[in-house]
């Protein structure tokens, strides 16, 4: 039995499964949180990105046993009290998504970047977001949305 906190809920979730089960499938199948997506299963596309204790991780290669006692945040946990997270808000304002499949992972990666680096340079963005692929090619708008949040943080 593995216990971990999901999306700031009041109590831990308890999951009884093979300790090697990737967190991605625990989230999607056991917990019904289908926001994190399966794109490759080998940490190459980033569609599975969630936060573990605030850090962006690829849940498709993160075994269940390694999240025990920790905090997991998924796309479902980004909005608080009915308010979208600033990154989600920026994603809408810049009309980022096309097919939308990669976007939960993109948002999680962007949110982690902005937490660590509130005013990222283009190079910072390139590096931090390099593991999140977008087949529809929404990269220009992802960059614009990240900068929108960064500029908003300045109060500008």
């Amino acid at each position: 039995m593995f216990s971990f906190r999901v999306n700031g809920e009041a109590t831990d979730r308890k999951v009884d499964a093979d300790p090697a089960t990737p967190l991605l499938w625990v989230l999607r199948e056991q917990l019904g949180l289908t926001g994190a997506k399966f794109g490759c299963g080998m940490a190459q596309c980033g569609a599975c990105t969630v936060h573990l204790d605030g850090q962006a991780i690829r849940s498709c290669v993160t075994p269940l046993k390694s999240v025990a006692g920790k905090h997991v945040t998924t796309i479902e946990g980004m909005a608080r009290n009915g308010q979208l997270h600033p990154v989600q808000r920026a994603w809408i304002d810049e009309s980022v998504p096309q097919c939308g499949y990669c976007q939960p992972g993109q948002i999680m990666a962007a949110a982690a970047l902005l937490k660590a680096c509130p005013h990222p340079s283009d190079d910072d963005i390139d590096t931090a977001m390099s593991g999140n692929l977008c087949r529809c090619g929404t990269y220009p708008r992802i960059r614009a949305a990240i900068k929108r949040v960064a500029n908003g943080a300045q109060g500008g």
Binding site: D18, T21, P22, W25, R28, E29, G32, L33, T34, G35, A36, K37, F38, G39, C40, G41, M42, Q44, C45, A47, T74, I75, E76, M78, A79, L84, Q88, W91, I92, S95, V96, P97, Q98, C99, G100, Y101, C102, Q103, P104, I107, I125, D126, M129, S130, N132, L133, C134, R135, C136, G137, T138, Y139, P140, R141, I142, R143
Partner: protein, 738 residues
């Protein structure tokens, strides 16, 4: 009333109200008003001429197909049931905009779902269209607005009747029915049920309303996409997100060899793996069914399959060599204008240009998947991100051996499509597996399987011969193309062999024929070459390879004649041509001055596909011998723009994909096996490589056309810039300058 000619995948189609009837959906009575549009099936016996006003779909109207409907509920919510799949291209928002325009309702308040064969009166009456060819918005323009206009008229009539006022004094405003004289203001939904009881307005009234010019409130504005919120909150439901109570999970192993079939299977370890329910060999591959997808993937890795019937001599080199050999002799003529062979003989200078272009993958980020449930009573239910639900229904019925009427298809959002989901092989697989285990099954392919069981953009070889005058004008042009036939592979059987092809494959020659450059002697020839590698439509299709060849050959000829490639093209075009306008616009916005811009190099190309024309200007820098794309400017001529920002999205997408393919992508074969199985081996363009992108519109046009015509002109513009920068002409993709 004029319809317009829309090019849906190369087949012209005339659309106008004279071939369609509005339909009020009587089965929806009691819940509100639902109005759709129906057309006659091609095989129908002629219906009485006047159907408007009395049209109701009844169980006897077996020849009538409803293609979409608008649902206005008593609680004032408005839902759009679309005959297309929303795969990122923005069709849901485009169509909702047309509905909002005619109902005077903010499109943001409209919800949508893709129609499958499920929620209308009877499944087979729903004419779900194929999503593809950029045809959706053009096809919607009249008949979606007509049905919204009819809804508006009925709502106002119902209110006027109740209020005992002239209907001319009533209007729709921001989702409300208003009668200013009496200061009445009521949500539309309040009259939905009463409106549903009235006869449809006369067709002439609707046509008059359609034809009445007035300033648009929502059309032409960049209204926000209506699918954004779900996609940023993770609530959007893709095929892989479908949940059916009691469902099992499955994955499937396909032959990594071209044309291979499963021989001996050692499933002893796989069967013993945790959670495994059953191993199901099928003609498509060997499926593993388990309690969870993790357990299915895990068990699949323990399967040992001997693949038989393989051809280990097959390789990318052997395919290219065979195609090159075919090009040594004449092929079937797809077009023959003037006397190209004669002109080539007589020309001052005849040049030969040879090209080799690779198989390209779709690589949708959501792998192929389908949830299927073959029930004990013979009913079949299928959930899939398919682009062709009608075909999915037929495939499922055929595989489950049930009548088509027994199959319900639900269409989910698609995590990318690009043509891959016009095929329904994954539907056949899921149905076979569900039938074997007697439970609902969600089948998800691994990424590796998605790469090796694609239906690829065909690999092609080209030979262009052009004769020139001493001044460098083209007098004759012969373009010979060798590649597989998409038509021959247009089926969802296990892909071991292609079917027959009669004549020319239109998908192989599009973009090579019907050039606008005024070349007097023009001949295009096609050689069908099959290697056993399955092929299908990938965004751009034949234009993706032919535009590359035509636009780089033209560029090379221009430079060889000492001419500016922009000027050279403009001299072959007429000022009223979209090609001319798009080139001029892109040159102006891109700052074209012969191709050099400081330390940067620019290349241009232009191409028309699906009825729209896109010119691209690609600006590059050479950094330590490597190409860096700094900026791409594009000019789009696609008629009336319903939503400028969605067109920009489409162009951004096309440019990223076009650059990615040209710089990085090929599917190669060695020893009869596919070599690419991951994003590491077949790279997408990265964030860091993505240039600045600017999109401009050529004004003009009263009807919307395809907004997805951007891919073909990207790669040639890039390679034209590379030619200027390095002196090297790229004749083989992906680009390799070493």
């Amino acid at each position: 009333m004029e319809g317009f000619e829309a090019s849906a995948g190369g087949t012209p189609e005339r659309i106008g109200l004279n071939r369609r009837e509005l339909v009020k959906l009587s089965a929806f009575a009691g819940l509100g008003l639902a109005i759709g549009c129906a057309s006659q099936r091609a095989s129908a016996t002629p219906e009485p001429a006047e159907r408007a006003g009395s049209a109701k779909v009844t169980s006897n109207d077996s020849n009538v197909c409803v293609s979409h409907y608008i649902q206005i509920n008593e609680n004032n919510s408005v839902k759009l049931i679309l005959p297309w799949t929303e795969a990122g291209q923005g069709i849901a928002t485009g169509v909702a905009t047309l509905v909002g325009e005619e109902l005077d309702l903010d499109p943001a308040s409209i919800t949508f779902a893709s129609a499958g064969y499920n929620d209308l009166i009877r499944e087979k009456e729903f004419d779900s269209r194929e999503t593809g060819g950029g045809a959706g918005i053009g096809q919607s323009w009249e008949f979606v607005r007509a049905s919204a206009i009819a809804a508006r008229m009925l709502l106002l009539e119902a209110a006027a009747k109740e209020w005992k006022v002239p209907v001319a004094e009533c209007a729709l405003q921001d989702g409300k029915i208003i009668h200013s004289k009496s200061a009445r203001r009521v949500p539309m939904g309040a009259f939905a049920t009463q409106a549903a009881k009235l006869d449809l307005p006369a067709k002439s009234k609707i046509e008059a309303a359609l034809a009445k010019p007035r300033p648009f409130k929502y059309v032409g504005k960049s209204v926000h996409r209506i699918d954004l919120l779900d996609k940023v909150t993770g609530t959007a439901c893709f095929g892989t997100d479908v949940k059916v109570d009691g469902m099992l999970a499955a994955t499937i192993l396909h032959s990594p060899f071209v044309g291979g079939v499963a021989g001996r299977i050692d499933d002893s370890e796989a069967r013993a793996a945790p959670g495994v329910v059953q191993i199901v060999p099928t003609a498509y591959g060997v499926a593993v069914v388990a309690d969870t997808i993790h357990n299915a993937f895990n068990a699949a890795r323990k399967l040992e399959v001997e693949w038989t019937g393989i051809n280990t001599a097959l390789s990318s080199e052997s395919i290219a060599a065979e195609q090159r050999k075919l090009l040594e002799r004449p092929g079937k003529a797809a077009q023959d204008k003037g006397d190209a062979p004669g002109a080539l003989k007589r020309g001052h200078k005849a040049s030969v240009f040879e090209y080799e272009l690779p198989y390209l993958p779709h690589a949708t980020l959501e792998p192929q998947n389908c949830t299927a449930w073959v029930k004990a009573d013979g009913e079949v239910e299928v959930w899939a991100p398919t682009q062709s639900p009608g075909n999915a229904q037929r495939v499922a019925a055929s595989v489950a051996k049930v009548p088509v009427e027994k199959v319900r298809v639900h269409v989910t959002l698609a995590g990318g499509a690009f043509g891959r989901r016009l095929r329904n092989d994954y539907v056949a697989e899921a149905v076979l597996v569900s039938a074997a285990v007697g439970k609902p099954v969600k089948l998800i392919w691994s990424r590796e399987e998605d790469f090796i069981r694609d239906y690829y953009r065909p690999a092609s070889s080209h030979r262009v011969e052009a004769s020139l005058t001493s001044k460098g004008k083209i007098t004759g042009w012969r373009h010979r193309i060798a590649c597989s036939s998409i038509t021959a592979w247009d089926n969802d059987k296990p892909p071991s062999t292609p079917g027959p092809l009669e004549g020319i494959d239109e998908w192989a020659v599009e973009g090579a024929i019907n050039q606008p450059y005024g070349i007097p002697n023009l001949r295009t020839e096609y050689h069908q070459h099959e290697s056993g590698v399955p092929v299908t439509w990938l965004r751009g299709v034949g234009h993706s390879h032919n535009a590359f060849v035509v636009e780089t050959v033209l560029d090379e000829i221009a430079r060889g004649a000492g001419a500016d490639p922009l000027r050279y093209r403009l001299d072959l075009l007429r000022p009223e041509d979209d090609y001319f306008k798009a080139l001029q616009l892109v040159a102006a916005k891109g700052g074209w001055n012969g191709g050099r811009k400081g330390s940067l190099f620019q290349g241009i190309a232009v191409h028309e596909s699906l009825g729209s024309t896109v010119a691209q200007l690609v600006e590059i820098e050479l950094v330590k011998g490597a190409v860096q794309v700094k900026r791409v400017v594009c000019a789009v001529a696609s008629g009336l723009i319903v939503n400028p920002d969605i067109v920009r999205q489409s162009m951004e997408s096309s440019i990223v994909q076009g650059l990615g393919s040209a710089l990085h992508q090929e599917i190669t074969l060695r020893g009869g096996q596919y070599e690419q199985r991951s994003f590491f081996e077949c790279k997408l363009l990265s964030m860091a490589e993505t240039p600045k992108i600017e999109v401009h519109f050529v004004p003009g046009g009263t009807l919307p056309r395809s907004i997805d015509s951007g891919v073909p002109s990207v790669a040639p513009a890039l390679c034209n810039a590379i030619a200027l920068a390095t002196g090297k002409r790229v004749r083989k993709l992906p680009i390799d300058l070493s």
